[in-house]
């Protein structure tokens, strides 16, 4: 997030899109709801009637995968009516002329045609967003998990910059991270192109620094493969060994049948986890690790706040920390790696990571610190881009609309989108161990509109088979008004009825994120 969580309560207008905030970031949603109770206005743009729509001034329901169109449409209205923040745009951004040209075709009528959002609602939303002193945009996977995910994100940034909402209290463009330490995994260099602190692997200086710090030579300066590239490469026989730590792609990946084939094609698979997950079952070697309650360390939350994790209990059996296991393998491979504890590793992180170098365990003992924190007397940075963008001027990107990779047709006439429910988490390996959570949310289901249900002769609770070009699952129907006619929704937590057997693995060309939020399916009442 560019802004801290507490800022959400200070926004005059909130725009929530592609985020089922109350279910997936429940405590963050309380900031939004409290702000609204005190008079803030909420615009929700979401294809589903998610719970936060109850608090919305305006709820725009777009057809799946049409986000660039409505965002461009809003900007067109804002530009045409002169509602944008002229002094901000002049002093802090470049590229307005290109943006103007790019959004020109997106008249409210044209947007209505593409996205199904009524023209007058779009205009109203544009005016409301532009009217705010500070407007905050909150988004999540509903924006990113598309073949045009990068375009979607850039479009939201365009909109926020146009109205002068980046670098102001209560504003910002705020991605909500779905998993506890996505932010930290990225910060620490768990990405193919960067070391910790986003230092590019193909930057010669960075490479030299890391070689010196690590006491090695010959670090590769060639950016590596993303997970969404490694797996297909394995299938092609171009990739041999994968070491998976605490992830369960056999439930979370798109097009699971294909993912399974890929994992099976590997010469060697190691899985390190706390449970024997669906993925671990395919491994050659499974290594037992400790969970968050059994170890020391830090997590970085979605607002870039680095907070302590502390050991509360001893782990089961012989399970060990993930870092300790990795050190064991490294040492056996001829690169001795040994640390006394997590604190010592954190000190090393600070020494090679400028954005973290001012943070240490003493400083975050009672409350965390926001990175960038560039010295031990630096107070941390809750809000990014305050006086200027970290990279100078903000650049508007001219972006056109591209439809999703797979659209409904005669054979597969319905849109499918996926997501989560409040009571379960990701692939369920953790939450499904709590009876209470299972009692609230025991099984997979498909949300379907009354109209589609009637057409298919499906009643509440009936078993329905849902098929895409890639697979088929059978789940009970929840008939109601959550989705609109023509669109169905299935949560992805359950391995037994894994919706990712159906989803499309087509990727965003830049971020390499699969289009988990849109594919085409066919429904039938199960015999």
């Amino acid at each position: 997030m560019t802004n801290p969580i507490k800022d959400v309560e200070k926004a005059d207008v909130l725009l929530i899109t592609g985020s089922n905030t109350t279910e997936n970031h429940p405590v963050l949603s309380t900031y939004a709801k409290r702000g609204i109770a005190k008079g803030a206005k909420l615009i929700v743009v979401d294809p589903r009637k998610i719970p936060i729509t109850k608090h919305a001034t305006l709820w725009l329901r777009q057809t799946l995968g049409t986000d660039v169109a409505w965002i461009n449409g809003m900007m067109r209205v804002i530009i045409e009516e002169g509602l944008y923040d002229e002094s901000y745009v002049t002093s802090r951004t470049v590229g307005l002329e290109d943006l103007k040209k790019a959004v020109e075709p997106f008249t409210p009528e044209k947007v209505e045609e593409i996205s199904g959002i009524p023209a007058d609602q779009l205009v109203e939303a544009a005016r409301l967003y532009a009217s705010a002193k500070a407007a905050s945009i909150l988004y999540a996977m509903g924006i990113t998990q598309h073949t045009c995910g990068t375009d979607n994100v850039k479009s939201l940034a365009n909109l926020a910059m146009l109205c002068g909402n980046v670098g102001v209290e209560g504003g910002g463009v705020n991605p909500l991270r779905g998993q506890n330490n996505v932010q930290g995994a990225c910060d620490m260099g768990g990405l193919p192109n960067v070391y910790s602190g986003y230092q590019a692997v193909n930057n010669a200086d960075a490479k030299k620094r890391m070689e010196a710090a690590w006491g090695v030579t010959g670090l590769s300066d060639k950016p590596g493969l993303t997970v969404t590239q490694m797996l297909p490469a394995a299938h092609e026989g171009e990739f041999s060994a994968l070491y998976i730590i605490g992830e369960n792609p056999m439930v979370s990946d798109p097009d699971l049948r294909h993912a399974e084939k890929c994992l099976k094609a590997l010469d060697f698979l190691v899985v390190q986890d706390i449970f024997l997950t669906e993925t671990a079952k395919l491994a050659d070697v499974v290594l037992p690790s400790l969970c968050f309650a059994e170890k020391d360390g830090t997590f970085s939350n979605t607002e870039r706040k680095v907070q302590r994790v502390r050991k509360a209990v001893d782990g089961p059996g012989e399970a060990r920390t993930d870092w300790d296991i990795l050190c064991g393998v490294a040492s056996r491979m001829g690169y001795p790696m040994a640390y006394e504890n997590a604190r010592q590793i954190f000190a090393e992180i600070g020494s090679v990571t400028p954005t973290y170098c001012g943070i240490n365990y003493e400083r975050i003992d009672s409350d965390g610190l926001f990175w960038p924190c560039t010295g031990t007397d630096h107070p941390g940075t809750p809000c990014l881009h305050m006086d200027k963008f970290s990279c100078g001027l903000g650049v508007f990107s001219a972006i056109g609309f591209k439809p999703p990779a797979e659209m409904p047709d005669d054979d597969y006439p319905l849109y499918l989108t996926t997501g989560r429910v409040l009571y379960q988490y990701h692939t369920g390996t953790m939450t499904m161990k709590s009876e209470g959570l299972n009692a609230q949310s025991p099984e997979c289901f498909v949300e379907i509109s009354q109209e589609d249900a009637d057409r298919l002769g499906v009643a509440q609770g009936d078993l329905v088979s849902v098929a895409s070009r890639r697979g088929k699952i059978t789940v009970p129907a929840v008939v109601g008004d959550m989705t609109e006619p023509g669109t169905v929704f299935i949560p992805f937590h359950w391995a037994k009825q894994a919706v990712n057997l159906l989803t499309n693995s087509a990727l965003d060309p830049i971020a390499r994120i699969p289009e988990l939020k849109v594919c085409a399916v066919r429904l039938e009442k199960a015999a």
Binding site: N301, Q307, R332
Partner: protein, 377 residues
């Protein structure tokens, strides 16, 4: 600091900020004015009357510290005889209003430890309050040496345990309204309707109908807000007593909000989770996963030993054998196929330290930049 910004409490000068109530001012200066109905971050309601204090400028007149804005002319007495007398009366009224059988009667002749021992000895009796030892009313009763002398008749108030998470015992509700505020003002779920009082005029959460009422999302904010034993975690009710546990502060391992938690530990097991109230991002709030989703930690299905594939299944192995095998196979493949045919999938679930080591392992040991995690999924 100007003279405007100070007032006197119990004979000493203290600073306050404009807008502070007397309760805020006292808290900031580390002074303890007892309160029951006051809930941080919510509008003061002033319904309980425990926080009364006396102003020297108006002898004999009591004001509620949680409702009274601090002003520099004030000279506050927090424990004067008339304050104490009023507090005792308020506490007594609460004790007599419900089933507050926490053995405070007769407590005046005992010290705290023997009092605690006596009650522990009788623990297991299923009518000893589950909040025993973690109850603000009980603490006040002990502090001000007040005993109740009246219990409601057996069965006068209903108990409810229809949902999987929360146990409600109306016999212990003191109608402080904190649960209502927690739900409506803090979580803004509006699942507890203050006007929905039953014939005993006790606050009635709508969660009596967990399936019909879609507004309750079992965040448990009401449990954390309840100062007494009227709303308690079903999972730890009677099975875990506060004095048997230790608490460790950590960060939630579910979503990216990163709520600060207390893990309550008994016999090397996490038995309860509460929110840390002093700091962000959550200031005590949690969601249903963070508060009630901790059972996986001690679940019997946890992996306890390395496993090596054999035929269609696995056999258990020692760490040495397993790590030797991993190192050998990775080493061979690195040699024969090349470093870029190897990769590491690190995790958005593990710590920064572990992610750092994972990328260091990929880059410095395997010599490849093929390292990624599942943020994209």
């Amino acid at each position: 600091m100007t003279r405007q910004d100070t007032l006197r409490i119990n004979g000493r000068e203290y600073a306050f900020q404009p807008g502070d109530t007397l309760l805020d001012a006292a808290k900031k200066n580390g002074l303890d004015i007892p309160s029951l109905c006051h809930l941080a971050r919510a509008t003061p309601t002033g319904v309980c009357g425990v926080c009364v204090v006396e102003l020297a400028e108006r002898p004999g007149e009591l004001v509620r510290a949680c409702m009274t804005p601090a002003e520099s002319w004030m000279t506050v007495r927090t424990e004067s005889p008339c304050v104490v007398a009023e507090r005792k009366a308020v506490i007594k009224r609460f004790l007599d209003s419900g089933f507050h059988n926490c053995a405070v009667r007769g407590a005046d002749s005992q010290d705290w430890t023997s009092f605690q021992m006596a009650v522990q000895a009788s623990d297991g009796a299923d009518d000893l309050c589950p909040a025993w030892g973690d109850c603000q009313l009980q603490e006040l009763a002990y502090r001000y040496q007040v005993c109740g002398d009246h219990f409601p008749r057996e069965g006068e108030y209903p108990r409810q345990s229809v949902n999987p998470f929360i146990f409600r015992d109306y016999a212990r509700c003191i109608q402080c309204g904190r649960c209502v505020q927690a739900c409506n003002e803090i979580q803004v779920n509006m699942a507890i309707d203050a006007s929905m009082r039953d014939e005993n005029s006790k606050v009635t959460p709508l969660t009596d109908f967990p399936l019909a009422n879609e507004d309750c999302v079992f965040c448990g904010e009401c449990i954390q807000a309840c100062p007494v034993g009227a709303l308690v975690e079903k999972g730890s009710r009677y099975t875990v007593r506060p004095w048997e546990t230790t608490r460790v502060r950590t960060t939630c391992s579910y979503c990216g909000v990163g709520c600060q938690l207390w893990l309550h530990v008994k016999d090397n097991k996490v038995v309860k989770v509460t929110g840390v109230e002093e700091v962000g991002p959550n200031y005590g709030s949690l969601c249903v996963k963070g508060r009630f989703g901790f059972h996986f930690v001690s679940h019997p299905d946890r992996l306890t030993t390395p496993l090596i594939k054999e035929g269609d299944g696995f056999r258990e192995a020692s760490w040495d054998e397993a790590l030797d095998l991993v190192a050998k196979r990775l080493g061979e493949l690195k040699e024969t196929k090349g470093p870029d045919k190897l990769g590491v999938l690190t995790s958005a679930r593990v710590t920064n330290e572990e992610n750092y080591i994972a990328q260091k392992f990929s880059r410095a040991v395997l010599k490849t930049n093929n390292v990624d995690h599942c943020a994209r999924l």
